[in-house]
């Protein structure tokens, strides 16, 4: 933690970056995002195992961009998001200085997307063991049981769109959900609209989801919605052999094709 504070202080004092996006102490042991803009306030930064939120979503926000060049305190999920944002041309190769913090508190500066790529090649991360188990359990159920499971989960959705807001990949200025001509998905939270909304979200993140699980954590009613996007992402990985958040140069899987793409269900 000390190493992180010293590094942040140094970077801000030398003017290398204008803002450090990191975590600070919140209430009841919760860590919340903070935006450190002066060397003196670098003391606010904390780093421990509670720092799990994905901060990468702030990188594309206009109000944060206004601060100037950012450095970001990064766990592996943030690094994967960063790569995917570069791949989707939302960030320049060297627009962000990533401060990768290891378990033991050692800070590694990653100034370019290439450096992030090399760093991630050693420790990629991804879906947690618990989520993997849940996903495999669901896959083993019958189709009807899966339908019941998701209906029971999704009926609790209050359409607060916290999943959308917390997702680093949901940066569209105009979202399909807000489109009312035509009204693709109805506004109130009811069974049909909820099912449609979460299908749309998963489809729009297929081939783009970095599997950080942030949407699932953001959900105020505790629906494991990240399983949907993660599943769509894995479907892309399995069928087209590419994974979001692993390379800085990556074509959007559903925007590209190979003439010999193999499927077995089209008659």
């Amino acid at each position: 933690m000390e190493a992180l504070r010293t590094k942040a202080k140094e970077l801000l004092a030398q003017g290398e970056v204008q803002v450090v996006i990191g975590y600070e102490a919140g209430t009841a042991g919760v860590r919340r995002p903070c935006f450190v803009r002066t060397a003196e306030s670098a003391i606010r930064l904390v780093w421990d195992t509670n720092c799990i939120g994905n901060l990468a979503g702030y990188l594309t926000r206009p109000e944060i961009k206004r601060f100037g060049k950012p450095a970001i305190v990064a766990n592996n999920a943030v690094l994967r998001s960063l790569l995917q944002l570069v791949a989707e041309r939302q960030l320049q190769q060297d627009a962000v200085l990533a401060l990768a913090v290891a378990q033991d508190g050692v800070v590694t500066e990653l100034p370019t997307a290439q450096a992030v790529e090399d760093y991630l090649a050693i420790s990629p991360g991804g879906l947690s063991a618990a989520d993997r188990e849940k996903m495999e359990h669901l896959a083993q159920l019958s189709r009807e049981e899966r339908w019941t499971f998701w209906q029971r989960e999704l009926e609790r959705c209050i359409k607060c769109y916290a999943c959308r807001s917390s997702c680093p990949m949901c940066y569209c200025g105009h979202c399909t959900m807000d489109c009312n001509r035509p009204q693709w998905v109805s506004v109130p939270s009811h069974a049909l609209g909820n099912l449609e909304y979460h299908t749309v979200r998963a489809m729009h993140l297929a081939g783009r989801c970095v599997q950080c699980g942030e949407c699932g954590r953001a959900c105020p009613v505790g629906i494991p919605i990240h399983l949907l996007t993660c599943y769509a992402e894995e479907s892309v990985h399995r069928q087209f052999g590419q994974q979001a958040g692993t390379r800085a140069k990556l074509d959007y899987a559903l925007g590209a094709f190979r003439p010999d793409d193999k499927e077995s269900f089209i008659r």
Partner: protein, 145 residues
């Protein structure tokens, strides 16, 4: 006396192959079951999965999605893009528990009038067997479609 169940089938087809193929079926005087509502779109590349959702939300019991065979697209690559999208959507539907037997993807060319008739008959019979898609239609009552 209650009428026997007749399925509503929505077909999303591309203008250049399947629509022309369906036209050929008609001009060839081949008869097939009348349960189908054909919706013509410029290209399979235009057939968004949200259109399929809308069809179910409006009470369709079955859906057919059809376009040009690979390599035959009028816009050269629309069906390749569509195929990738269907591959992921099909997978996701399965994971969410949507009944995959109610959505049929197919390639029907402008020369395949008989294939179209056979496809529609086959799908209509299969969906008639399955019965109305109550699982989904129950959701419609819960709100505004």
């Amino acid at each position: 006396m209650a009428k026997p169940f007749e399925p509503k089938i929505t077909a999303f087809v591309c203008n250049w192959c399947t629509y022309a193929g369906a036209d050929l079926t008609g001009t060839s005087r081949i008869k097939y079951q009348p349960n189908i509502r054909i919706i013509r779109l410029p290209c399979t590349g235009r057939i968004d999965f949200m259109l399929l959702q809308k069809a179910f939300a409006r009470g369709a019991d079955g859906i057919i999605v059809s376009g040009c065979h690979p390599n035959d697209c009028h816009y050269s690559s629309g069906n390749y893009h569509a195929r990738r999208r269907w591959m992921v959507f099909n997978d996701l539907m399965e994971f969410m528990g949507v009944d995959g037997r109610r959505v049929t993807f197919s390639w029907v060319s402008a020369a395949e009038g008989t294939k179209w008739a056979a496809l529609v008959n086959e799908v209509t019979d299969a969906v008639r067997q399955l019965g109305p898609y109550t699982e989904y239609q129950r959701l419609i009552g819960a709100g505004v479609a």
